[in-house]
Each structure stands twice: as C-alpha cells, then as structure tokens.
Amino acid sequence: MADTVTDTASTRRATTRYRPRTGLGWLWLPLALCALFLYIPIAVLVGMSFNDGGSAFSWDGFSFRWYAELAGDEVLRQSVLTSLMIAAGATVVATVLGTLLGVGLARHTRSKALETAAMAPAILPDLVLAIGLLAFFFVAGIPKSALTILLAHAAFGTAFVVAVVRARLTGSDASLEEASRDLGAGGFTTFVQVTLPSIAPAVVAGALLVFTLSLDEFVIAYFTAGPTTHTLPITVYSMVRTGVTPEINALATVLVAISVVVVVVAARAVRRTEKS
C-alpha cells in the first residue's frame, strides 16, 4: 500500500516542471547586493576608526588612538551614563504600565477605540510626539531635564510593551486564569501567580525592546532635553554636525560590536525557549 502511494507521489513529482524549493538560483544576486549595501558603510566606519590621521578620506597608518580618545572623552562618557539611566527608568515605567494595560486590553475589553488609543504613541510620527511634549512641558512649566526625556520615552515605550503582551495573551486562552478564580483566588492573586508567569517572556521581550529603543532614540530626546542634558544620540548629533574626528568611527565600531553580541545572545535565547 505504502509503496504505491510513494510511487505515485514520486511519479507525480518527476513529471512536474516545478523545481525543488531549496536553493536560491538567481536570488543570490539581490541577497549579495543587499549585504553589500548594508555593510559597506559599516565596514568603512570600522576601517577608518583605525586610521592614524584625522581625515575621513585619507589613510595615514594603523593606530588605536581614537579608541584611547574615546575612552577619555568625558562628555561622551557622561552622555552614555545619562542615556543608560534614562533607558533604565523608562523601561521600568513602560514595562509596568504596559503590562497592566496589555493584560487589561486582552482580557477585559473588546473596545477597538481603547486598543487604538493604546497603540497611538507607536503610530504617531516621533516628530509630532516630540513637539507635543515640548509644548506640554513648556505650558505646564516643567523645566526640561533628563526626567522629561524619561517620561517621554516611557510614554512611547509603553505602546510597544502593550503590543507584545497583548499579542502573547490573545493567542492563549484564559482557562488557566478562570480556573484560578474558580478555586477562590482574587483578581490580584490570579494576576501575580497565573497571568504574569505565563506572559513573562513577552514582558521581558517588551522591556528589552523599550530599553534599546530608548538608548537609540534621538528625535524626542532632542526636543525634550534640558539645556545641560545630553543623551548619547544628542552628543553624537552635535559631533556629526560640527565636524568630526575618527573618534566617531571608534564609537561606531564599539556600538556595532555591542549590537552583534546582544543580537546573537538574544537570538540564541529565543531559540532555546522555543525548543523547551
């Protein structure tokens, strides 16, 4: 019986003009071009970071001096610290509020309006949010500082946490939570002991997302920063605008190295949780 089936199948396959799915054929070309497009600028940045001379265009010999300068750059160091602090604070706020909001939306309401409202900050162009917050802090008389950036980042970060948590919850059914309630647990206990653990990976993913977004976020920070607050992107912006030394290239190389490590670790972690 089985033989006949496979025989028919293979005969059918032999007579079709459809070639097997694996293999790229001509698709190698766009893939290679894309890889070049994405990585040549990065290669240039990394390469010139070892350039001994100050020019971005001529090679004067190999040297680590720009890395040394990077390490000693006080302004840059301060900006990195500021960015990290803001990102950490914004992550905490956004994760807490976003998780609550995400659970609430997934389990307790079917209102489309509320759903759209929850996603609003992610859909609005960041420029609009930025000027709105500039105006808001101005009118409310709140002096701009690292705190205002933190609040701004938390506001738009929450939307991302909501998205991730909701996605996770709408997939799964609520029977575990219902069972918990049937057994007498109050809402709060159910939330802490049943719901939270089940969405934990989503919460963590959301938190990571907000953290990285906040670190790299430029537009909103630029508009809501106080006169003396500098986040990393703001400092890089003034470095790029006012004439650059290869110190920026050194910074770029360090950032690329960090991103590679982070993304690889995250990808491995995701694959491990999927397997388990």
Binding site: R12, T16, Y18, R21, T22, L24, L27, P30, L31, L33, C34, A35, I40, P41, I42, V44, L45, F57, G98, L100, L101, V103, R107, L114, A120, P121, I123, L124, P125, D126, L127, V128, L129, I131, L133, A135, F136, A154, A155, T158, R181, D182, G184, F191, D216, F218, F223, P233, V236, Y237, V240, I248, A252, L255, V256, S259, V260, V263, A267, R271
Partner: protein, 307 residues
C-alpha cells in the same frame, strides 16, 4: 463517583458567591486597576500634547517661542503658499522613493532569505538587524563619508575609470533617498520575510502543477498572499521617512528641505510654533489616510473569498 471540581470538601463554590458579594461595580475593579494607570499616563503624556499641538494651530506666535493665545486662521493660510505645498510634495516624493528603493532591495532579499536552509535563515536575519541596532546618526554619517566628493565612492568610480571627474553625490535629494532607505531597510525586510515564510508552499506547488510557470505563480499566488506584509513593510519605511529631519539635514546639506525640517525649524529655529503645529498636523492626517488604506487593503486580501 467523580466529584465535581467545584465541590472541594470544606469549601463552598466561590464563583457565584464572590460575584454576588461584589456586585456589578465590583467587577470593574480589576479592569480599572489594569487599564487605568496606563491610560492616565497616556492621557497626560500623549493625548494632552497632541491636543495642545492641535490648539496651537489656531494661535499666534510669540517672538521667542511659545504662543500668544490670540485666535487666528492665518497659519492655515500660510500653508497653502505654493512654497510649502512644494515642500510637502517633495517630502512625499522622497519618502516614496525611499520606500520604493527599500522595496526593490528588500523584497528579493526577504524572499531569498526564506529560501535559505533553515539554520542560515536566523543568521541572515541577525545580519539584517545588526546595522539597525547601531546608532542611526552614526550610520547616516557613514554615508556622508562614502558619498563625499573626496570620499570612497568617488575614489572607486574614478579609480576604475567608470567616470572621468569626481562628482557630488552628497547634498542632493538622491543622497537623502539613499540615506533614508539605508536607515529603514530592515523594517521592510522583516515583515516581508514573515509574510513570505507563511505562504503555504502547497499552494505554490499546486499552482505549478496546474501548469503556471514560475512568474505567473509569483504574480497570482505569492504576491497577493504577501501583500499585507509588504504593505506593512512599506508603511514602516514611509512613515519615519516622511517625518525625518536628521537625514535631509545631514545628507541634504541644508538644500533639501523636507516636512520634518520645516517643523523642526519652526519649533527650534524661527520659533513659529503655531505654523509648525499646522504642518505637523497635516503630516498626521496624511498618515492616518495611509493607515486607513492599509486596513482596507488588508481586509480585501484576507477577507475576500478565494475565487
């Protein structure tokens, strides 16, 4: 005899009694506790600012920023000046060009990745995403170096004899398009990849078995099925491109003014906040229309009965 799950010895069934005790209002406690904090936060930090920008549209500018709350419709009148309509048009064109270029590069790439052996796909996706996690300003700076008339691209072109004289690639609208495409390309590739991967290959095989060649199969099966993902990718590139001001400033040399630059200048340079608010709102309306379009297309593609 199987005991019902609700009759645990010593404990009365809680559900009905608990609800009854708390009443209808009681049932709102949990949703409120969950929804309220986030929504209030949003109301203060998102809704109020956006409403404020909306209100600013009707106010008069103060000399050093801020507004005088004198009602006026002048700001709208200024918007219809052909100059600003031109800027809007140029912005849409540049954003569209960037989206088109990203699509041109991104779709084949996403498709190619989906055809790689499985363990290579993750590697490829990681490679696509890594540049994206590098600081966006630095990535733009890389193009300033590359496209410069003294820079490497010119070096290569002149060195290999492809062109006679160095020419300026930088500080043109073209450079801005390239910069925007580069910045947001991963946002195009990822949704398309997700869509392509989901395409049921049985359908593709069936189409082939029915006699369609590869191209026809692509047009009638693959393309429509990946359309929602493709549109998501296009929107993810178009929206930030339209409102961008950094890339036009750095790569456009102050000569290419896009809508984002206009808004930024009104708020931080010329201090004409009401006019800036009007321009910003126009962009928001434009984008809302775009989202509406996307939702409509998605409904058509996913909801329509298969013919």
């Amino acid at each position: 005899m199987v005991s019902s799950p609700t009759t645990v010895p010593g404990r009365a069934p809680q559900r009905g009694r608990a609800r009854g005790r708390r009443g209808r209002l009681g049932r709102l406690v949990e949703p409120t506790a969950l929804l309220a904090p986030g929504l209030i936060f949003y109301a203060v930090l998102v809704l109020v600012p956006v409403l404020l920008v909306g209100a600013y549209m009707f106010a008069t500018r103060g000399r050093f920023g801020g507004v005088e709350w004198t009602f006026t419709l002048d700001n709208f009148g200024r918007l219809f000046d052909p100059l600003y309509l031109d800027v809007l048009q140029q912005s849409v064109l540049i954003a569209a060009a960037a989206t088109g270029l990203a699509l041109l590069i991104g779709y084949p790439t996403a498709y190619a990745i989906s055809r790689l052996p499985v363990r290579w796909r993750t590697v490829a996706l990681v490679l696509v995403v890594v540049p994206f996690w590098t600081n966006f300003l630095i990535r733009t700076y890389a193009w300033i170096v590359l496209l410069n008339s003294q820079g490497l691209l010119n070096d290569a072109l002149v060195g290999t004899g492809l062109i006679e004289e160095r020419f300026t690639l930088l500080y043109t609208p073209g450079a801005v398009v390239v910069g925007l495409t580069y910045a947001y390309l991963p946002l195009m590739i990822l949704p398309i990849y997700a869509a392509v991967e989901k395409v049921d290959h049985e359908l593709v095989e069936a189409s082939a078995n029915l006699g369609a060649n590869r191209f026809r199969t692509f047009l009638s099966v693959q393309l429509p099925l990946t359309l929602p993902g493709t549109i998501t990718g296009c929107i993810l590139v178009f929206v930030p491109s339209l409102g961008n001001f950094v890339i036009p400033e750095l790569l456009g040399g102050g000569k290419t003014v896009m809508v984002g630059n206009l808004v930024r200048d009104q708020f931080l340079k010329t201090q004409d906040w009401p006019f800036g608010a009007v321009i910003a709102m126009v962009v928001v309306v434009l984008l809302l229309l775009l989202f509406g379009l996307q939702a409509w297309v998605t409904r058509r593609v996913e909801g329509a009965p298969r013919g």
